[in-house]
């Protein structure tokens, strides 16, 4: 039996492997355009008074841009599930850090004790 075939990237059934996809310059240009537009919108939106929604809108746009970069520039869209899960795990842990600590800070104000 030959051992050279186990780590076979063309075996897309395996969640750890994916085909090597090449994104074309045209696709990159769309992404680039999208990112620039996103930047412009952020700046414009900051000038409008949306109350509490200002930071939310700003962050929403930033997140969208980040997701676009991750998916296309960083090729995650064409990557194996393993990579997708990995990226997710990073953000998940960050969210855990933020929410669970913020819960402490917010709930300190709720009661005396």
């Amino acid at each position: 039996m030959s051992e050279h075939h186990y780590h076979d990237a063309s075996n897309v059934v395996n969640p750890e492997h994916a085909e090597h996809h090449i994104v074309t310059p045209l696709q990159y240009s769309y992404v680039y355009g999208g990112l620039i537009i996103g930047t412009i919108i952020t700046v414009l939106a900051a000038d409008i008074n949306l109350g509490v929604f200002n930071p939310i809108v700003a962050l929403a746009i930033a997140c969208t841009k980040a997701v676009i970069v991750i998916l296309f520039f960083m090729h995650v869209k064409y990557q194996s599930n393993l990579i997708k899960v990995t990226v997710g795990a990073g953000f998940f842990t960050f969210i855990v850090l933020v929410t669970m600590s913020l819960v402490d800070y917010m709930s300190r104000a709720w009661g005396l004790w």
Binding site: Y6, P25, Y32, A58, I70, V87, F94
Partner: protein, 258 residues
């Protein structure tokens, strides 16, 4: 037991056909990897794990920012308004462009176009340098205004903001003295976060120089693209950090006073 053995063999059988033909052996292939593909996937997975640590590294600072922004909102607004949105926005565009060229560089390497690869890498570098240049201008302004946290930090301006010559109105709401002190927290976080970001850029530019040198030698246009790809991941990650830094630091409550 018999079952498992059979299953394993079956698996191999399905996996084994039609691979050998495009199995090229490159000089960069390390002995402990079975295949080129395995090496490549290991490399990019490793890079991603490294980026995870970067997420958590910046994450700590983002959390500190979030906390103090909630606590000292007024101070954060006032200090944020001291930053120049045009410069920040231009820098965002510069960085996005740099990332765009990086993405193109990866493409060039994948389709084995050496000249283009070098050209895109140089463009990436130029835009990266431009970003740092703008950043230097901004830092210098902070230095002149005594907004560098530490001994020489000056809150005077936040308590008695300058009066606009034309309108005769204050450019921003004055802060109470105790709140004005908190602007230092903002500027500390500003410098810590953008500084850490800039440090990553500088490291990245160093690596870029080395990659350009090797790309010129033709190292990456013979099918061995891993270094370019992995550097690309790093560079895009640095971009992403900035995508968040820009709105968070520059755009707090930017609309005109009510």
């Amino acid at each position: 037991m018999a079952n498992t053995i059979a299953a394993a063999h079956e698996h191999e059988a399905t996996a084994s056909h039609g691979h050998d033909d495009h199995h090229v052996s490159l000089p960069q292939h390390r002995h402990h990897f079975e295949t080129q593909e395995q090496q490549r996937e290991a490399g990019s997975f490793g890079m991603w794990l490294f980026l995870l640590t970067e997420i958590m590294f910046f994450g700590g600072m983002f959390f500190a920012y979030l906390l103090y922004r909630n606590w000292y909102y007024d101070a954060f607004v006032t200090s944020s308004n001291q930053l120049s949105v045009p410069l920040g926005a231009v820098n965002t565009v510069i960085l996005i462009s740099s990332g765009f060229f990086m993405a193109l560089a990866v493409w060039a390497a994948e389709v084995r176009k050496k000249k283009q690869l070098v050209r895109y890498l140089i463009l990436t570098t130029i835009f990266g340098l431009a970003f740092l240049g703008v950043k230097t201008v901004e830092y210098k302004e902070k230095w002149e205004k005594h907004h560098i946290p530490g001994a020489s930090f000056d809150v005077h301006e936040f308590i008695n903001p300058a009066i606009d010559a034309k309108t005769g109105k204050a450019e921003q709401r004055p802060l109470a003295p105790d709140m004005a002190q908190k602007t230092q927290v903002f500027f500390f976080l500003y410098f810590a976060m953008t500084g850490m970001h800039a440090l990553h850029m500088i490291i990245g530019l160093g690596l870029l120089g080395w990659l350009i040198y090797r790309a010129q030698r033709g190292d990456f246009t013979d099918g061995y693209v891993a270094p370019i790809e992995n550097f690309g991941l790093y560079w895009h990650f640095v971009d992403i950090v900035w995508l968040f830094l820009f709105p968070l630091l520059y755009l707090i409550n930017r609309h005109p006073l009510q």
